[in-house]
């Protein structure tokens, strides 16, 4: 018994050591999120317009405005409002939207999947296509593909996603009529049940193939716009990283052993070349979130971006703040995940 007690403190410190990194990053994430929350709260109280009046409507009389003010708890001292706000968040109560007259949390649940559909489709395409093209460019630098890529990547960075979206819309939807002009899958028209909220997945789950086809077609233009705006960076970075990796002595050593060129490219060079690319992808995810808002506006895609945009135009500040919060959280989590990937790729980095 006493021997266990003697060993306990040692064991405890070992546990502490192992969990330390996790705990500290978790704590840090909380700090960041809390800061975002507080900042949004401060900003929400900075608005020049009177929120009570906005909620009551511009026609409302003074008494009604005061009623609304009481209802919304806006007459309370600031600190109390802050405490309520914080507790509300923990209860997932993000207030009501003036526009939709619904709790914001419900709005978010409704609009989030469509945005996720766009973001995931775009992100995966950018990642895989970007890396693939970058590798091909590094491997076959004199090919036609490489020459056209070098032109494209210079222009690619300069293409604003909203303009490209607009142009794509005009050419391929309005004129050539190949893709729908706006929106995602019209659920009711195809009688598809909304399970996840994502057109593509729901139509598969319902076994409705024509609906699936429509959903995919609806995705094409917005995703293309997003991809075009971001992929140039990935391609260029992959290529330069691969090119410098392929120069390294160990590559020649593998060649000397008689390993085939494609094997070397994929299993040796790529693995080491991906490090900076992954870092950049983490950054690009953030940029992609911003681009998604623009794309949703152009294509009237019913996602969070469009929701935020409408809320913003009508000074509906609850949704705006809620979205800021949600995006901050998503963003922080994704970044954490990315930084956890490094030791996996490079065994030299100690965890």
């Amino acid at each position: 018994m006493s021997s266990i007690l003697k060993r306990a403190p040692a064991a405890f410190s070992i546990l502490k050591k192992k969990f330390q990194p996790f705990v500290s990053s978790l704590l840090w994430m909380l700090v960041v999120v809390w800061t975002a929350v507080t900042l949004t709260f401060i900003m929400s109280r900075l608005i020049p317009a009177d929120p009570a009046r906005l909620a009551a409507g511009l026609q409302a009389g003074q008494e009604q405005v005061e009623e609304v003010r009481k209802q919304l708890g806006l007459d309370r001292p600031l600190l109390e409002q802050y405490a309520n706000y914080l507790s509300g968040i923990l209860r997932f109560d993000l207030g009501k939207s003036i526009q939709t007259r619904q709790p914001v949390i419900d709005d978010i649940r409704e609009y989030l999947p469509a945005t996720l559909e766009l973001v995931f489709a775009a992100f995966f395409t950018i990642t895989f296509l970007g890396i693939l093209l970058g590798v091909l460019w590094a491997r076959f630098p004199k090919s036609i593909l490489s020459k056209s890529l070098s032109v494209f990547t210079v222009l690619g960075v300069a293409l604003p996603v909203f303009w490209i979206g607009l142009i794509l819309q005009v050419i391929f939807a309005a004129n050539l009529k190949l893709f729908p002009l706006a929106g995602n899958l019209p659920y009711s028209k195809y009688q598809v049940e909304s399970i996840t909220g994502m057109g593509t997945i729901d139509s598969i789950l319902s076994g409705n193939i024509p609906a699936f086809k429509t959903a995919i077609f609806a995705l094409v233009l917005p995703v293309t716009a997003l991809v075009i705006s971001q992929i140039a960076i990935s391609i260029r970075l992959t290529r330069s990283s691969m090119a410098s990796e392929l120069q390294k002595p160990y590559i020649n050593a593998a060649r000397a052993r008689g390993v085939s060129e494609w094997r070397i490219t994929v299993f040796d060079a790529l693995r080491n070349a991906l490090n900076p690319v992954i870092t950049m992808l983490g950054l690009q995810f953030g940029w992609l979130l911003g681009g998604t808002i623009l794309v949703e506006v152009v294509f009237s895609w019913p996602g969070l971006g469009l929701y935020a945009f409408n809320a913003f135009r009508t000074f509906d500040y609850n949704p705006i703040l809620a979205i800021t919060l949600v995006i901050t959280i998503v963003f922080v989590v994704v970044n954490q995940l990315v930084s956890m990937l490094y030791p996996v790729l490079d065994p030299r980095i100690k965890k």
């Binding site: 160990y250 020649n252 050593a253 593998a254 000397a256 085939s260 299993f267 693995r271 490079d346």
Partner: protein, 322 residues
């Protein structure tokens, strides 16, 4: 009939962006079970020659030759598959810098077994452990599954040698295998290479900038300067009776011996290469007019080959004192 493992005829290589060619019209041959040493300072083209033999020159190298034959394979004309199988079964290569010649994110064993089909991996693994023990690595079983950064330079080189032997090659190319190592480790490694060469009757190309290293292990020596062979012959001949002024100064540049030189030996070759005539003429103590205008050809003198206009005359004069 002499069996040649490597025949190189009129090999010229230049790298894009350099107006001085890395190799000009070099020809040599390696006999069966012979160890040929190639000596020269950096920039002399020795590594280029060895790599060219295997078709391992980079993308920005322009290569032209009458023929390059390794075993029965014509490297210049060979198809990809033939070249790969040549590298897998006929030739083994040991590279210079152990810290850079391994993929840092893959285990040693994975890298060595990579060229072989999956089904052979099991028994090749055991074979590799056996070889590793032969080259003097203890606890080979454990060491095989680690990452390169866990091992010392000397150990990595030994493993590279073991790996090179894995396919039972008939030819071993060692490109400055000891240059990146400590002196004591160098000696060990050289002894190992020498032993292996004799034991297995390997044909070997030994490249080094260090004449002592080459002398210890080679039967014959090629001395290179600025992309050309300036002297060639049996090791004893070249060492004891050097004929080319450059060879003489190489031998004389052993530390502790004061020699009269036109220019110090450690400036880079490209800065001083004469563009016409003998490439060594700008540094040669014994250069005369013809040396600056006409390029000397390799000719046979007293059992060795020299590319120098004044070889015989300098030989008879014995100008250089030891």
């Amino acid at each position: 009939m002499v069996d040649y493992k490597v025949i190189v005829e009129s090999l010229s290589v230049s790298y894009r962006g350099n107006h001085i060619p890395a190799l000009s019209n070099v020809s040599f041959a390696l006999e069966d079970a012979e160890c040929l040493g190639i000596v020269g300072e950096s920039g002399s083209g020795k590594s280029t020659a060895a790599l060219a033999v295997m078709g391992l020159l980079g993308r920005n190298a322009e290569l032209s030759a009458n023929s390059i034959k390794v075993g029965s394979c014509d490297v210049l004309k060979a198809r990809k598959k033939a070249l790969l199988s040549l590298r897998r079964s006929f030739v083994g290569v040991v590279f210079q810098d152990p810290s850079a010649s391994w993929n840092p994110s893959r285990k040693i064993v994975d890298q060595l077994l990579q060229p072989f089909p999956r089904k052979d991996h099991q028994h090749l693994r055991e074979k590799l452990i056996g070889y590793m023990e032969q080259v003097g690595i203890e606890k080979a079983q454990e060491r095989i599954g680690v990452y390169p950064h866990n091992l010392s330079g000397g150990m990595l080189q030994r493993i590279m040698i073991a790996g090179a032997l894995l396919s039972e090659p008939q030819l071993l190319i060692a490109d400055e295998p000891t240059s990146a190592l400590d002196v004591t480790v160098q000696a060990d490694l050289l002894g190992l290479l020498s032993h292996l060469q004799r034991q297995r009757s390997l044909s070997m190309l030994m490249i080094s900038h260090n004449l002592a290293v080459v002398a210890k292990i080679s039967n014959r020596v090629l001395v290179m300067y600025a992309g050309t062979i300036v002297e060639a012959g049996p090791t004893k001949n070249v060492l004891l009776r050097p004929m080319h002024p450059y060879t003489k100064s190489l031998l004389a540049s052993v530390p502790g011996v004061e020699k009269e030189r036109k220019k110090p030996l450690d400036t880079t070759v490209s800065a001083l290469v004469a563009l016409s005539g003998c490439p060594y003429s700008s540094r040669c103590v014994s250069a005369i007019d013809i040396c600056h205008t006409r390029k000397p050809e390799l000719r046979e003198i007293q059992g060795a080959q020299v590319a120098c206009h004044r070889a015989e005359e300098l030989e008879s004069n014995s100008v250089i004192s030891r």
